[in-house]
């Protein structure tokens, strides 16, 4: 997976930008859909208008043809010729119509005229085209099928042939009591072409796929900026009669393109703004608090002293909760750490530093002394007859005794008017074995004073389980660097002095000197510095 490699900020940025791009894409798609929808509606509207206009034009044409036929059949010469069934005369009368108003004014372009009797049998016919134009197929039959009372009404039909279209109008001869019928067949193309002028749009007429009438204004590239609408007229014949209208949609396309550009621009600006605001909010409410927490965690991990320090709870609710939890956990960890440390470096019975801590401090002190040439003392301390007490009074009493002894030693070393005790450490090394490090003690005399101070602290009887008990103590004093310069040897020297004191029962002994009397007269009798050859 490549995703986990990136930061949360990158994730959020990519997500927001992706959403923005998705939005832009959707806007584009929607725009295209709307554009097509608008074009479809425009086309449908054009087709409707075109149909209405074409129907109007055809209606007018039919009315003219009807008027023409009715006027013709009403003339006395027509009536006479028809009454006599004189075909030649009828053809003559029909032919004369081509010099009258409807034809000469180009209101009607007559293809043919038919005169029929009441049984719809042709009596006479006149055609302008030698090839002849028949009536629409079934036209006469349908006219004849009408109820008698309806037959006086003019009857019309539009029909298409291979190369042209025509409109036929049948009127009754004889008014209320028809004695025959007159069919007027005209070319409707000029009337339909008039729609082009009325709508101001190029018009093409097709019969099926065949182009019957073209327009010089028809656009050469209709797909580019032209909207082409088609409508079919109900016509009888071999193929449907179709009208095609072309409307210049360049302006519409331009408007749509401009609207789309504006929408996209606004969408882009909105996306960028939202991205920036989202990032700013995210940075402020989540990222920064998280970075602070992470930084603090890193600090705590590298340095335990930072445990317990607090992080200010800021940002959103989740981040504040996280910070609160961190603070609480940090506090608890600090306490736990302190407890663990205490357990590792202190004697649980007496609370004094244990052997590990004592050795650590001793090492530090030795390094310091090596560096600045100072000297210090180590005291090895052991209780007299402790095993006996333990065996007699039990371990519990022994433990109590150790605690009381520790308290007294601690108290004794807390203050001193004569000897510098700054930075001292008293540790319990195990059993009844204690050790003291006295960094401020510079010479044997001071060491002896401290030993006596400790012995004096033991003079009062201890109270153990209702009994009073006196317990003695043996102390060995060793000096650095007078007696040795190594840590282990220093301890051995102190131990050696302590055993010497125990053996002699003098309470304390300075390494390298004969045991002092039980009641020391003067501690300044000898000095290890006077006998540097001595070793422990």
């Amino acid at each position: 997976m490549i995703l986990p490699r990136f930061s949360m900020r990158t994730h959020v940025s990519v997500l927001v930008i992706f959403m923005g791009l998705l939005g832009l894409g959707l806007a584009l798609l929607t725009g295209e859909y709307y554009r097509q929808l608008i074009h479809e509606h425009q086309r449908a509207s054009l087709a409707r208008i075109g149909t209405l206009k074409a129907q109007d034009a055809l209606g007018e044409l039919h009315a003219h043809a009807s008027d023409f036929g009715l006027a013709l059949q009403h003339t006395p010469e027509f009536r006479r010729a028809f009454g006599a069934r004189d075909e030649l005369k009828l053809i003559e009368v029909l032919g004369a119509q081509f010099h009258r108003y409807f034809v000469t004014a180009n209101v009607l372009r007559i293809d043919s005229l038919y005169v029929l009797d009441t049984h719809f049998t042709p009596v006479a016919r006149l055609e302008t085209d030698p090839d002849g134009h028949s009536l629409c197929p079934g036209f006469v039959n349908r006219a004849a099928e009408r109820p008698v009372a309806h037959r006086i009404k003019p009857f019309t039909a539009l029909c298409s042939e291979a190369h042209h279209i025509h409109s036929a109008t049948l009127v009754a001869i004889g008014g209320l009591r028809p004695v025959g019928y007159l069919a007027v067949v005209v070319d409707p193309t000029p009337a339909l072409r008039g729609v082009e002028r009325e709508l101001g749009m190029p018009l093409r007429i097709r019969v099926g796929e065949r182009l019957l009438s073209d327009s010089p204004l028809w656009p050469s590239h209709p797909e580019a900026d032209q909207l082409v609408a088609t409508t079919q007229l109900s016509a009888e014949g071999i193929a449907p009669l179709t009208l095609e209208f072309a409307d210049n949609s360049a302006q519409l396309a331009e408007d749509l393109a401009r609207a789309r550009f504006l929408v996209m621009l606004l969408a882009g600006i909105a996306t960028v703004s939202v991205t920036l605001v989202a990032l700013a909010l995210f940075t402020r409410c989540t990222l920064e608090p998280m970075q602070r927490l992470t930084e603090r965690m890193r600090l705590v991990r590298s340095d335990r002293s930072y445990l317990g320090t607090q992080v200010e709870p800021v940002g959103n609710a989740e981040m504040r909760e996280l910070a609160d939890n961190f603070n609480e956990l940090s506090g608890e960890l600090k306490e736990l750490h302190q407890t663990l440390e205490s357990l590792a470096y202190n004697d649980p019975l007496t609370g004094l530093p244990n052997r590990v801590l004592f050795r650590d401090r001793l090492e530090q002190q030795m390094r310091l002394a090596e560096r600045d040439g100072s000297n210090f003392a180590v005291l090895a301390i052991d209780l007299d007859r402790f095993k006996e007490i333990n065996d007699t009074l039990g371990h519990h009493a022994g433990d109590q005794l150790l605690q009381q002894v520790s308290q007294r030693m601690r108290r004794a070393l807390r203050r001193s008017d004569t000897v510098a005790l700054a930075g001292h450490t008293v540790a319990r090394l195990g059993g009844d074995e204690f050790c003291a490090l006295l960094p401020a003690v510079r010479n044997a005399a001071d060491g002896v004073v401290v030993a006596e101070k400790l012995l004096a602290a033991m003079e009062e009887p201890f109270e153990l389980e209702g009994r009073e008990l006196r317990v003695g103590m043996s102390i060995g004093v060793a000096l650095y660097p007078e007696h040795t310069r190594t840590l282990d040897e220093l301890c051995r020297c102190a131990d050696s002095a302590m055993y010497q004191a125990k053996r002699s029962g003098t309470g304390y002994a300075l390494f390298g000197t004969p045991p002092v009397s039980p009641v020391p007269a003067s501690p300044f009798v000898t000095s290890a510095s006077q006998n540097p050859a001595l070793h422990c």
Binding site: L70, A149, V171, L176
Partner: protein
């Protein structure tokens, strides 16, 4: 729409249907049946000798008229004029004028009834209805 039986019964001399005529308006004289345009054409197809009388003035007639109708403006209609144009008082006669708002045909109908014509019809919708229904008209 068509009531050939009723019309034929009327032509036979009965006047009972006059009261049930749908478009009858007062004061329509007894025995006069109101016709619609389709009823008029139906009647013309079935009855020989039906005469259609245009009760309008000549100027209105110039706009077009029902073919084969004769012109007899109501203002010129009286028993003598009717007798000259329609000597047979039993001949079925239909009167019309411009439309329902034109009172000329009703005037002529009343005069014809008063003069003793027995088969009088009133084409109340007149020229307006005729043209609207798409029936043919002619002009001189």
């Amino acid at each position: 729409m068509y009531r050939p039986l009723a019309l034929i019964a009327l032509l036979a001399g009965s006047v009972a249907f006059a009261e049930t005529a749908p478009d009858a308006v007062e004061p329509l004289p007894d025995g006069v049946l109101t016709l619609t345009a389709p009823q008029l054409t139906e009647l013309a197809a079935r009855v020989d000798g039906l005469l259609v009388v245009d009760a309008r003035l000549a100027a209105d007639r110039a706009q077009g008229y029902i073919e084969d109708s004769i012109s007899l403006p109501n203002v010129e209609t009286d028993c003598a004029a009717l007798a000259r144009r329609i000597p047979d008082r039993n001949r079925p006669v239909v009167f019309y004028c411009n439309g329902v708002r034109c009172g000329r045909s009703l005037d002529s109908v009343q005069k014809a009834r008063a003069c003793g014509y027995t088969r009088v019809f009133w084409f109340r919708g007149g020229f307006e209805e005729w043209r609207a229904e798409g029936y043919p008209l002619v002009k001189d």
